[in-house]
């Protein structure tokens, strides 16, 4: 049986289920905390540090990432303090140094009163939030992509930077990317993703494109159905 704890967020009493995070508790009472790497379909990760909040512990306060910090009985949480805003400003400026043009980041920056980064810009595009890698691993279940290296040279890529053997071309990574830096192109019955071409399957009844062949083959495998189950009819003509 799940336990309920009561805590205070920005002076409001909030009930939350034990084991959930501060971010979820805040969302349940419509307190918005900016975040980039959190997604309810994925395990908490704590990479982007945009969701920092201040918690009170005795006489002191401490900064924690609300997307990974679990609710506690009687906890006092402040989501908008000068200290919190300063950290968020720093974080968004560091992210802007990697990607100075994406509207999502610029909007977040503007909300914090930031127009441009104070740091030297080195355009990488990717902000290393890990949503693509984690979606591929946890939701899709194929783990076709991952990180490479560490520190300043860390980046998202396929094993050995080659055509990914496990990729099913579903495009979930490109869809989930908050800054849209994973190229995906559908053209003339071919999907190009991770520098690899994958044929798209057409519906055998109406001829509309359903999905990449490899994705349907994967569906057939995990559901134990014949491939024809997914190719004979599409959602439009079923």
């Amino acid at each position: 049986m799940s336990q309920t704890v009561t805590l205070t967020i920005d002076g409001r009493q909030v009930q939350a289920e034990a084991g959930t995070t501060l971010l979820e508790a805040a969302r349940s009472v419509n307190i918005q905390i900016p975040h980039l790497c959190s997604n309810e379909e994925l395990a908490p990760y704590g990479a982007c540090r945009m969701c920092m909040v201040e918690i009170r512990q005795g006489q002191r306060t401490r900064l924690v990432a609300s997307c990974i910090y679990e609710v506690e009985e009687g906890l006092e949480v402040q989501t908008v303090t000068e200290r919190v805003l300063n950290v968020r400003r720093l974080v968004i400026e560091l992210l802007l140094a990697r990607n100075p043009t994406h509207p999502t980041l610029l909007k977040m920056a503007a909300d914090l009163g930031i127009e441009k980064t104070r740091f030297e810009v080195e355009v990488k595009g990717c902000i290393l939030c890990g949503l693509c890698v984690r979606t591929c691993r946890e939701v899709v279940g194929v783990s076709a992509i991952g990180f490479e290296g560490r520190g300043t040279s860390r980046r998202v890529t396929t094993p050995f930077n080659e055509a990914p053997p496990d990729c099913i071309a579903c495009g979930a990574c490109a869809t989930v990317c908050p800054v849209g830096v994973i190229p995906l192109k559908d053209k003339a019955g071919i999907r190009t993703i991770w520098k690899t071409d994958y044929p798209l399957q057409r519906c055998e009844s109406c001829g509309r494109i359903i999905a990449p062949v490899k994705q349907l083959e994967y569906f057939a495998k995990i559901t134990n159905q014949p491939l024809s189950h997914f190719t004979e009819h599409c959602v439009h003509c079923r």
Partner: protein, 158 residues
């Protein structure tokens, strides 16, 4: 290769938790981590290749390119630096004809720099095949290279 890797994994009872020690053993066996080896490890342990690639590229101790028969690591940390490590580095790079981090074409030597070995009192330090050689100088380094079979043009020969 398959059998050797299967043997290594068997030693760890096919436990994914031992991935790093397994990769260390594989690297010891082949002197580096060949691509096929990583694919085999992934298949046998049922760990996605992307995950193994992630780990193999994260740790500097792993190499995805063949390494030389002899490993030379020169410390270029602060203490070694002020005691002349850059001069030694220049000298070794000239003799071997490779930059730090590279391997000679004949696969005899791999030369790399490290940032501190925690033995600053011995600086500058050159580690040759796992052995710490303290108070290194250019001529001592040349002598070591010679002993390992490298032709070194030294002043005495001129």
């Amino acid at each position: 290769m398959q059998e050797k890797i299967a043997h290594i994994i068997g030693k760890y009872h096919h436990d994914k938790g031992f991935l790093v020690p397994i990769l260390q053993d594989v690297q010891k066996e082949f002197n580096y981590l060949p691509k096929e080896a990583l694919t085999t490890v992934g298949a046998l342990l049922q760990v996605p290749l992307s995950r193994i690639y992630e780990i193999a590229t994260f740790y500097r101790a792993f190499s995805l390119t063949p390494r030389g028969k002899h490993q030379m690591s020169l410390c270029v940390g602060t203490a070694c630096h002020v005691r002349g490590a850059p001069i030694i580095q220049d000298g070794i790079e000239r003799v071997l004809g490779v930059k730090a981090g590279q391997t000679t074409a004949d696969l005899e030597f791999t030369f790399e720099t490290v940032n501190c070995l925690g033995a600053c009192a011995l600086g500058p330090i050159l580690v040759v095949d796992g052995e710490y050689q303290g108070q290194m100088t250019l001529s001592k380094a040349n002598k070591l290279l010679k002993k390992l079979g490298k032709k070194v043009a030294t002043d005495e020969e001129d």
